[in-house]
Structure formats: structure tokens, C-alpha cells
């Protein structure tokens, strides 16, 4: 083949190392209350026996992630001891010594190794085009889109969270499904669910896909279901994997009778009464979410498109719950953007959708970093990611005209005046005091347009795509 093996690996390593250097430079940037949340969890998992983890309420940030994440924090706390023992004292609320900051930031940076590995595995799943020069290779573009993802850098390494690590597990699970190693994929996803329950949003996609494509071992010639090929063995094995993961995770707490406490009440019960528009109840949002993803689920049941169809459905589930779910964080948009990157480097239509979704979705994360000091960083990094994704995807799909039509391009360009107004002009006006949330509202509404548009286009592509991809039988 063309390039020697060392060359093939070295650019990946260079990109990973480069982004790690950038993350190290951001160690002293602003961090949100999530920093204190995780410090508190380090403290309580270290200082208290497991029986009390979900009861400890000295701090307002009680443990509201599933047990496996608590064990992860417990493991981290043993390393934290060597940096600063004081951070492990539960009573030290808002303790943020330089050693604490260094340790926590480094833990996120090091945990990203899981993400690096997952990206490497995802690159192996691509239909590679040999002979292209490095900057035009789909695997190179995908690596940059994932490793240097703006949202991930901003949320993990400034705002402070462990999404890199978690998305690493998710992408690894997806990669395993692409590679037909379904048991591993299912195991990884079960582990993921026990690390952060937000991934329940995409569980339906997994469930339907595994049932349809894995438990039914064969399809008919036209792609429809062959009922007789149902494999009980596979279903039982899958079930065992999932149940055993959950039992390892929740088992100790069920045994202690703490299941109601461990129901992650964080954010699930606060209902707001709105003053102008009708108030929305959690049940209503659940119904809307289910309705929005049902057609996609039916589609892959009826006409599965292999792993790629599953991935598309996963993104739709993530987007659907982002748009209609209850108490959704703006960070949840990453659950749609990151998996979509895999599709974006292979199909023109997906590249279009990805561009709109990622630029809009990333811009919608701006209000997370509201400090003046971080303003240049977020603008520079967003520009970096946007320019790269635009030019590389345009070059990749240069046959067949422009990637974005004029309307889409105008919408995206409209983000520039929006940013200028919201962050530069508006704060200098009189309305800043009386209507301080107006810029946030404008941002949300404008971005909602883009996200909805991407959602609809994604649906259309899912519902119409089976004809062109019948030739490619991946399962």
C-alpha cells in the first residue's frame, strides 16, 4: 500500500497530542459549578462507605449519576490523595486549590484516552479511499472532527465534565456494532447507561436494532423480516449481558434497599409554572419524545440498513429527545453531533446535515461560557472547528456542486450578527437591566431553527435512503 505503517499512525498521535496540549493550556480557565460537583463526589466516595453515597447531602450537589460513575470517582479519589488531601473532605465546600484544579483537569485529560481509542476504532470502520493525500482522507477528517470537536473541548475542559470519557465508551460501542462484535457493543452500552443515565435517550435505537438485526439472524432478499430466523440464544445472551451489568452496578444498592434513593432525582421533578405560554408537564414531553422517534424506530425495524441505519436512528433518537425531552441540557446536543460525524465523512447529504447541526449546536453552547475572559477562546475555537469542517467536507464532496445551498449558508452566516448583538451590542444598551435574558432567548430560538431543520432532513434521509444502499449489505 502507499504509506508506511509509521506514517499511518503518526498523524493520529500528532492530532491527539496536539489537542491534549491545548487542553493543558486551558487548565486555568473558568470552570463552572460542575467542578465543585465532581470534587464533592470525589470527597464523598472517598470518605464515606458506599451505603451512604446516595444519602450524603452536606453539599447541594448530591450524587445523581448511576453507581458505576460513583465507582469511577472512587477510583479517581485514590489518586487525588497525592495531589491535595483537603479536596477529599466533604465539608470543604467549594474547595479549589491549585492542586485540586490541576488534578481534576488532568483527570479529564487523561480519561480522554478512552475517547482517543474509540476514535481510532471508528476510523477503522470507514470505507477508506486509499491514495488520497492525508488531509483529504475521510479517516483524517473524522479524527479531527471528533478529537478537536469544539463542543467537547468547551464542555469538558473549560466548563468541566467527563463527556470525553463517556462519549468514548459510546463511540466504541458503535464501532463494535460496525465491526459485527455485537456482544461487546451491547456490553459497552450497558456500562455506559450505568455511567450516565442520560444515554437512555438512545437506548430505543439500540434495542430495536439489536432485536431486529442481531436476534433475527437473517433477512429476506428484499430486506424484510424473516421471523423464523429468530435466535433465542442471542436474545438470552444479550439479556444476560445487560442484566448482569445493571446488577453489578445497582446490586449493592438494591441489597441495601436504596433503590428509590438511587433514582437520580436530579432535575426530574422540578416543574415550572410559566407565565405566558402554557406550562408543560414531564409526561407531555415524554409523549412528544416518543412520538418523534417512533417513525425512525419503525423504519429500521422494517427496513434495517445495517449499522449505518442504526447510527442514523441513534442520532434521530438523540435529537428527538433533545428537542422534546424534559430538563434537557444544551450539552446534550453533543450526543447527536458526535455520532453524526461518522456519517458525515461518508455521505454528502449527511455532511450537509452535520454542518448545519454542528455549527448551530456548537453556537448554542456559547451561553455556557459567559465570562469575558473565555470569550476570545470560544470564538477562536468555534471558528477553528467551523472552518475545518466546512473546507474539509467541501473538498471531500466537491463532486456535485456546493454542499450548502444559499438559504442554509445565509442562516449560518446569520450567526455572526447574532453573536455580535447578543454579546457585544446588547450589554451596552439599556435593556440589559430590564430584559437580561433576551439574548439567551434569541440564541435559543435561532439555534432551534437549525436543529429542527437538521432533524427533519435527517428523518427524510433515513426514510428515503434504503433504495440507494441496498447494494451494500453490511450485515
Amino acid at each position: 500500500m502507499a504509506a508506511p505503517v509509521t506514517n499511518d499512525q503518526s498523524w493520529f498521535f500528532a492530532l491527539a497530542l496536539g489537542v491534549s496540549f491545548l487542553k493543558c493550556l486551558l487548565i486555568n480557565a473558568y470552570h463552572s459549578t460542575d467542578f465543585e460537583v465532581h470534587r464533592n463526589w470525589l470527597a464523598l466516595t472517598h470518605s464515606l462507605p458506599a451505603a451512604q453515597w446516595y444519602y450524603e447531602a452536606t453539599s447541594e450537589w448530591t450524587l445523581d449519576y448511576p453507581p458505576l460513575f460513583a465507582w469511577f470517582e472512587y477510583g479517581l479519589s485514590h489518586i487525588a490523595r497525592f495531589f491535595d488531601k483537603e479536596m477529599l473532605v466533604v465539608q470543604n465546600l467549594n474547595y479549589a486549590s491549585p492542586a485540586t484544579i490541576l488534578f481534576q483537569r488532568l483527570s479529564v485529560i487523561v480519561a480522554d484516552v478512552v475517547f482517543f481509542y474509540a476514535v481510532k476504532e471508528c476510523c477503522k470502520c470507514l470505507r477508506e479511499d486509499k491514495g488520497k493525500y492525508l488531509l483529504g482522507k475521510p479517516s483524517f477528517i473524522l479524527t479531527v472532527l471528533l478529537l478537536w470537536n469544539f463542543g467537547l473541548i468547551i464542555v469538558d475542559h473549560i466548563h468541566f465534565q467527563y463527556n470525553g470519557f463517556l462519549f468514548g465508551v459510546l463511540l466504541l460501542s458503535i464501532a463494535r456494532h460496525f465491526q459485527n462484535r455485537h456482544f461487546e457493543g451491547a456490553l459497552l452500552f450497558s456500562i455506559l447507561l450505568n455511567l450516565k443515565h442520560i444515554y437512555l435517550y438512545i437506548a430505543p435505537a439500540y434495542g430495536i436494532y439489536l432485536l431486529r438485526c442481531f436476534c433475527f439472524t437473517q433477512s429476506n432478499a428484499d430486506g424484510s423480516l424473516q421471523w423464523r430466523s429468530f435466535s433465542v440464544v442471542r436474545l438470552v445472551t444479550l439479556g444476560t449481558i445487560v442484566l448482569s451489568t445493571f446488577s453489578v452496578s445497582f446490586g449493592p444498592f438494591i441489597a441495601l434497599g436504596q433503590l428509590p434513593q438511587a433514582s437520580m432525582t436530579g432535575g426530574l421533578v422540578q416543574e415550572f409554572q410559566h407565565s405566558v405560554l402554557p406550562s408543560v408537564s414531564p409526561l407531555a414531553t415524554l409523549v412528544c419524545t416518543v412520538l418523534s422517534i417512533l417513525p425512525a424506530l419503525f423504519r429500521i425495524w422494517h427496513r434495517p440498513n445495517g449499522a449505518r441505519g442504526f447510527l442514523r436512528c441513534l442520532v434521530i433518537c438523540a435529537l428527538g429527545s433533545f428537542m422534546f425531552g424534559w430538563h434537557v441540557h444544551e450539552k446534550a446536543i453533543l450526543m447527536a453531533i458526535l455520532p453524526l460525524s461518522l456519517l458525515a465523512v461518508e455521505s454528502r447529504e449527511d455532511a450537509r446535515i452535520f454542518l448545519i447541526l454542528s455549527i448551530t449546536g456548537h453556537y448554542s453552547l456559547f451561553p455556557l461560557l459567559f465570562t469575558t475572559q473565555e470569550l476570545p477562546i470560544k470564538i477562536l475555537l468555534l471558528l477553528l472547528f467551523t472552518i475545518f469542517s466546512l473546507t474539509s467536507l467541501k473538498t471531500l464532496f466537491r463532486k456535485g456542486g456546493a454542499l450548502l445551498n444559499p438559504l442554509e449558508a445565509t442562516y449560518l452566516l446569520g450567526l455572526i450578527p447574532l453573536e455580535l448583538i447578543c454579546e457585544f451590542v446588547y450589554p451596552l444598551t439599556v435593556w440589559q437591566k430590564t430584559f437580561p435574558f433576551l439574548p439567551l432567548m434569541l440564541t435559543s430560538i435561532y439555534c432551534a431553527l437549525g436543529v429542527t431543520y437538521a432533524f427533519i432532513r435527517l428523518y427524510i434521509s433515513l426514510l428515503t435512503c434504503s433504495d440507494s444502499t441496498k447494494k451494500i449489505k453490511t450485515q
Partner: protein
Amino acid sequence: MENWSLISLCVLLGLTARWAVSFHSYSGAGKPPMFGDYEAQRHWQEVTYNLPVHEWYFNTTNNDLNYWGLDYPPLTAYHSLVCAYVAKLLNPEWVELYASRGYESHSHKLFMRATVLFTDILIYIPAVLLYCFYFCDGSSKQKVATAFCILLYPGLILIDYGHFQYNSVSLGLALWGILGLGLGWDLFGSLAFTLALNYKQMELYHSLPFFCYLLGKCIKQGLTWRGFFHLVKISMTVLVTFALCWMPFLSDPKQPLQVLHRLFPVGRGLFEDKVANTWCSLNVLIKIKTLLSRETQLFLSFALTLLFVLPSSLKLLSKPTLWQFKLALVNTSLAFFLFSFQVHEKSILLVALPVCLVFNEIPLIATWFLLTSTFSMLPLLLKDGLLLPYVVTSLAFLFLSLYLLSALERSTEEELRLGLYRKLTQRWLPKLNLSRIIKWKFWFSLAAMAALSFTSVWLKPPAKLPDLFPVLVSVLSFLHFLGFIIYFNQVQLMEPQRKKSQKKTN
């Protein structure tokens, strides 16, 4: 991928790195009563805004020269004035006469950092990009890679965005000067360099090569009309620029004298603090500062500096090409750094700039030098609380230069230009693999620098020798710089008449 997108990605990354470094502490943060360079710059804004021009450089009741008196030429003062106007708009407390002394706040820090970023974007970064695109050999990818590595040079980033200074202005203007000369626009080049000189008097380190290059070119054009006329035009440009910059100070003969007195404080001694030059290093063994009289010190310093700049300047005079010019800049500024009077460790940046310009031709040695120059400022950086950015930017720079510019692969004897060394060892040790020796020395030197950095941070010096680590850093850097000045002189002086592998534009 198109060029413009690659360039913009590099610039964006360079800017991100700069701004991320600016999150960290600055010189003199929270250290009353004198604070540091950051407070000096703020104070100059206060002085230039509130006081009339004729008082800026004088010791008056309103202007206490002992508290960070202005000691840079007028252009710095004008720049401070412009910044002060903006500061006044944002928050008048920042430049209140007297009352703003030692003012420190988060928003003020953002303002000051923003002023550095602004001038960087305006002056330094475009110059670097233009340089790489017009004067670098190789494919466009290689040019972008070179530009990227130059933009990520840690020394300049750490001093400008960490310690706090405006070196990007003076170095940027000097680079514009070099660009002008390289493109054949001598008048523009002279103008730009004169402005650089009027921003920081340390640019005098670069002035001899500029002079020799232009003189050499004029001579080459013939000592009759054309050459002579050209020389006159250049001189006029320089004089007029000087006059314009110093205009407010020319009304009274006392003014320029006082300014010069502030710019060149001969009373301050051979060296101050720990700096990686000859005198400070020699002082470890022989206490020359106390042994010799002031006049002898001055004479010795002058003599040695002259000794080291003369060969390089004469060669440039005889052969005024861009390659010779760049090497002469390196050699002259390094000679001044090593042997001149009252040198500060930050002056190594004046040497670093021309070394950046030879990045593309000798990537390994350039990387080595640039890392050493950053290392030589370690005591200063540690004092400012810049350990983390120092480690990250140095490692990132090392990795990127080696990876993107294939520095280790492009290190054959010919590429490293080891002509003279080869000749010397030819007779007794013909089988010596000089290239491999250089690489081994490179790695060994990096290991030594890393080890010394580590011990400076983690270990406590013995009570009898509290300055042990800064001294060790200075001496180690000095030895490196001595090696470099010999090497670069060798490269410049031994250059054969024609070389196929080099493409010179002049």
C-alpha cells in the same frame, strides 16, 4: 485543502495558544510596592495620559522616575498614550494619576492582555505569514508548517502574554523591515526598522546588519550615482522617521539628552540579575563585577562585542544576500547578547527572531536554539508563576517542530551545514558521523534542560547557595549560546559562493 484555510487554522491556533497563556499570572502580580513590568506598562499609560509631553522623561513631582520611569523610546510612549485613551473610556480609575498605582483587577488584566493581542494581530502575525509565504522554500504545506511553528515559539508568547510586554510590536516592526529589504523595498524596510528602533532601543542589536546590508547593496550598485543616490534616499528616510518620532522632544536640547539618558543607563553596571551571557557566567568563577573598574568593564565589553560582530558584518558587507543578512542578524544580536553591557534575559528574544527566520533551512538547530532561549528565561518565568504554560508550550513546540518540519530527518551533514566542522575533523577523525553526534547532543541537551527545570521547581536550593538553580540555568544556557554563536558564525562565514540546494530571492 486550500491554503487560505490552512493558514487561518494556524493563525487561529496561534491566537488560541496566546490567549490561553494570558489566563495565567503576570509579572509582579500581587507584589506591592513595586509590582512588575505589567504595572510599569500601566504606569506609562497613566503618565503619558495625564502629563504633558515634556514631562514624560523627567523627574518631577508628578512623575517619580524611580517608580517605573519611562525607559523606552518615544514610540512606546505614544503607544501607551493610545492605550490610555481606550483605558479612560472603559474605566478612568485605571489611569488616574497617583491613585491608580498598583491597580489590579480582573477586567483591567483583560484590557491589558487585549492590547497585546491587538498589536500582535496587527503587526507581528501578518509579518510572519508574509515572510513564510514569500521567503520560504518548499511546498505550500511546508510554508504553512513553518509559519505555524514560528507562531508557536514559546519564548515570545510567554513573555508577551505571560510576563507582560509588547515585544511583538518591536520584533514585528523589525520583521517588516526584513521583509521590506528582502523584497527590495529598501525605503519601506528602513522605515519599518527605524520605527522598531524607536519602539525599543534594544533593536540596536539588529541595526548593524541592516546597515551593512544596505551599504553593501548600495556599493554593489556602484559607488557612482545610483548607489550613492540610493544611500542618500535611505539615510533621508531614516533621519526623517527619527525626526518625526522625536518631534515633541526636539524643541529643547535638554529633552533628547534626558531621553537618551533614560534609554541607556550606563550607571547600572555590567549586568543585573542572572542572565545567560558571558559576564554573569564569568562572575561565577571570577568576580569581575567587583574586580575590574567600570571603565575596564565597558572597554572589555565593547572590545569583545566588536570582535564577534566584525567578521559577520564584513562578510555581509561583501555579500549582501538575504541568507547572509539573516545569519548576520543572528550572529550580531547573539554577540551583543553575550558580550554587551546591561543585558536582560529577555533580550534573547532579539536573537530568537532571526533564528525563527532560518527555521526552514536548518530546522533542527533552530528548534534547539529556540528551546534553549525559552529555557534561559526559566527563572523569570518561575517568578511570574508561568510554570504550566512554560512546560506545555515548550513541549508542544518541540513536538510540532520535529514532526511538522521533519527536523530530525533533515539533518544530514550538508543540511546542517557542518562544513567547517567536517574539515576540522577530516584529518584526524574522518569516520566521525557528525550528524549523529549533533542529534545525540540535541537530545542530551534537552534532557539536561528538562532535568534542571524539574529540579528548579521541585527541589529547594541549599541554604548557602540560594541562587543555585538560576545560576545553573544561566550557565547552562550560556554554554549553549556560545556553541550556537560559533556554529552560526561558521555557517555564515563558510558559505560557498554558490549552493544548489538553496534558493535565495535576492
